[in-house]
Amino acid sequence: TSNDPGTSAQVKTNESGDANAAPGQKVVIGFSAPAADHGWIAAITNNAKAQAAAYSDVELKSVAAGNDAAAQRAAVATLISQKPTVIVMLPHDGKELDAAGLEAMKAGIPVINLDRAFPSRAAYRLQIKGDNFGMGLAAGAYIGEQLKSKGISNPIIGEIPGIDSLELTQERSQGFNTALATYGFKVANRRPAEFTADSGQAAATALLQALPKMDAVWNHDDDQGIGVLAAIKQANRSDFFMVGGAGSKAAIDLIKADSSVLKATVTYSPSMASSAVSLARLIGQGKGMNDLVELQVPKEITLSSETITKENADRYAALGF
């Protein structure tokens, strides 16, 4: 989150000087991600572009994918007809764009499936994604630990997810509930927002009104969290602590300052886009990952969700978006 866009891309620079970094044969990467009016997706696109720019042998053909799955299908169709070396695709919905992935693979273009998974294993060459379930688990575990250590046995826990009809939201909530269940806790009230600050404010206001006493709340997304924090301030409440999600720079700073109810955030980093572009280049050039024995890039990579707290905030400051 920032008022001046594009200054904070997460890029792997070539300091290590390993062999893979040496310029190789030219790779054209087709890139498609949904229309971004949300900080996280904007960061995904920015990261991909910045990472591609860091390589002299990579050309990124970015295709904006419009507002829904159908638009993205159309965009990918035109992308395929232009025959890039590799396609990196963050689909609107993995299941809905499964067919598009299959089509590209059939046309001989390796597909790197970013973040939202295609169900068919034949639809991608590499899948690199965050761990939504794990994110919920991490948030739940943190909250459970904190409450347990405070000796609260019957806590009131609130949850503010993002757009509720998305599968990723469901996975996060499931992970959250699973972790809480191990402590014998459960969510008292759940008010979804829409990944925007104003909807976050509305949802949080409603939640606070419904729970005059609360011990902890998990807000799935740091961007909408700006509104959530504002609502908490407007309601003049401080009887609980809050955990965020995704790991925005503003959230990390706030955690470090320890000046608000926000005590932690669980990551879901858009840096995966940078990694995807790096690996797309390797796949295009037929190279493997140096630290692995395998000659080729593996088929699936899942980022783990980490918990950022006051203690480790410094280390993560650079990864905030």
Partner: protein, 334 residues
């Protein structure tokens, strides 16, 4: 029966026309509150909570309420504006750029109002002088304005660092949130403007029968333009209100406000085809929606159940209101 008697009855009937509709909405509100009391008695047992809850409902209704007042004018004047959410987003984003924020709170407010007004004027010009159908012109504006907002914000959520702005949402003169005062002022001004001024009279005429208005010497095009400009101004104000509430603005903010505002206006008794509408009804319409949201929250309904129930409540609200309306006028008839 004597002419006098007829007239007296007639006047009574007319008086009750809108009042009865509003009464129906008050009934709906009461029913919603009663459901709340019955389902969560422990919450309603606490007077502080109740007072807070009322203020929360009002505060959450404030921005959309301001938009609905503007929308009522546009619809009464025979138009429609689908771009209100987009205008709010554009005004909000524009007024929270680093450059604008450097001018301080007044600069930000000024920017939001001017951007809203300007977009409204463009809408108005397209519709009145370009002769575009309002639906199409404002739909195009919706798409364009959101695009421009995304461009300006770099698709980032822009945080407001201006304390004056951010505090608007937390200030409570006389114990009532400033935003609620603002809503009250806008509603009162809207009521006077619609019912007691020549501007309002022209609005009704232009929406009710544009040809008749034109032949009576009213400048229909200019008036239409002014209606959309007014709408834009309301959106600019709402943008400030929302920005202060969320302490930030972004291109996707105020999503689908157009539908909410139109629905609230219509439920309040405004005729979608123009020529008739009430500001008080619009306010009640907004409050019904805001109260429904509150009711769902305190009962922790899941989104999908919420949605299913919400559709039903809307239908029921209109039916109740219609039923009351019909049966009451029936009674008055005898």
């Amino acid at each position: 029966m004597t002419a006098e008697a007829v007239r007296a009855r007639q006047r009574r009937w007319n008086l009750d026309d809108n009042a009865v509709r509003n009464l129906g909405l008050v009934g709906v509100l009461v029913v919603l509150v009663v459901i709340g009391v019955v389902t969560r008695p422990e919450l309603y047992a606490d007077p502080t909570w109740v007072r807070n809850n009322v203020l929360t409902i009002l505060q959450q209704a404030s921005a959309i309420g301001v938009v609905t007042v503007g929308m009522t004018f546009v619809i009464v004047g025979g138009g429609i504006d689908l771009s209100v959410g987009a205008i709010i987003a554009l005004a909000g984003v524009w007024s929270t750029t680093l450059a604008t924020q450097s001018y301080g709170a007044l600069g930000m407010i000024f920017t939001a109002l001017v951007v809203g007004l300007a977009v409204g004027v463009v809408n108005g010009v397209l519709i009145s002088y370009g002769r575009l159908v309002p639906f199409i012109a404002t739909l195009a504006m919706l798409v364009s304005a959101r695009g421009l907002a995304a461009q300006i914000s770099g698709k980032q959520t822009q945080v407001s660092t201006n304390d004056t702005i951010n505090n608007l949402a937390t200030t409570r003169p006389l114990g009532i949130p400033l935003l609620v005062w603002l809503l009250a002022v806008v509603v009162a001004a809207g009521w006077v403007l619609l019912n007691r001024t020549t501007f309002g009279r022209r609005t009704v005429a232009v929406g009710g029968n544009p040809e008749a208005a034109r032949l009576a010497g009213i400048n229909v095009k200019r008036h239409t333009l002014m209606l959309y400009a007014l709408m834009g101004l309301c959106c600019g104000l709402a943008a400030i209100m929302l920005t202060s509430q969320a302490t930030s603005a972004q291109a996707a903010m105020a999503n689908l406000y157009e539908l909410d505002a139109i629905a609230a206006a219509i439920i309040g008794g405004t005729l979608l085809s123009g020529g008739r509408g009430t500001i008080v009804g619009a306010l009640f319409g907004v409050l019904v929606f805001s109260t429904i949201t509150n009711l769902f929250a305190i009962n922790n309904l899941s989104t999908e159940v919420q949605n299913m129930v919400k559709g039903g409540i809307i239908v029921a609200a209109v039916l109740i209101q219609q039923f009351r309306y019909r049966s009451l006028t029936q009674l008055l008839k005898r």
